[in-house]
Symmetry: C2
Subunit: 130 residues, 2 copies
Amino acid sequence: MASSGSTATGPGSPCGACKFLRRKCAIDCIFAPYFSSEQGPARFAAIHKVFGASNVSKLLLHIPAHDRCEAVVTIAYEAQARIRDPVYGCVAHIFALQQQVECLQAQLMQVKAQLAQNGMNSNHINGTQY
Amino acid sequence: MASSGSTATGPGSPCGACKFLRRKCAIDCIFAPYFSSEQGPARFAAIHKVFGASNVSKLLLHIPAHDRCEAVVTIAYEAQARIRDPVYGCVAHIFALQQQVECLQAQLMQVKAQLAQNGMNSNHINGTQY
């Protein structure tokens, strides 16, 4: 998941969010640092559809400025995942990772048991031979 | 993540979502099967705050009826996670699981290497002893 980074918008041109919302972009627009005028509208479209511009604006206003970029990245990720998979959204990723963890834990237990068994066999062989 | 299950609302009493939104609950209310009159309002509050009632209603209407219960469960989970952690939301869980997967993969590789090494040592001992 790549960081969005701050993206400057040209003087007078609205940020990607305001361009999408077809509204005037205020000088202190909460979205401007995270949605460029070029790629921002497409990025914002998913966020707007899933969360709504007003909810995301309120959320960002309650987060310290230095954390907002990360928040936008995770919100955009959740929104895109919900559009791809309307039933599970990014929770599908959580389920897949939980299954992978269970599978790896089972494999690890099996290999550890084999290692312990080999150790016992080796001790037994060495015990009878020396 | 527990399934919400359908919860009947008494005749005339609004579902939990409509109770929270202080509106009349229609007979075909999209939220009624998933938000009981008693526990539903608290459950719906988080969803409303993060996604907005209108966005969730639209989302559910585009999902087959038999998938809506699962969708509500995952939406409620995402909403609660975003309220607990406004910056990362449930993506924090994804990051934690990804780290756990990496850690387990490293452990597994280490134990497998040890197993292979023990096998080579054992062959070497047996080779010199027989």
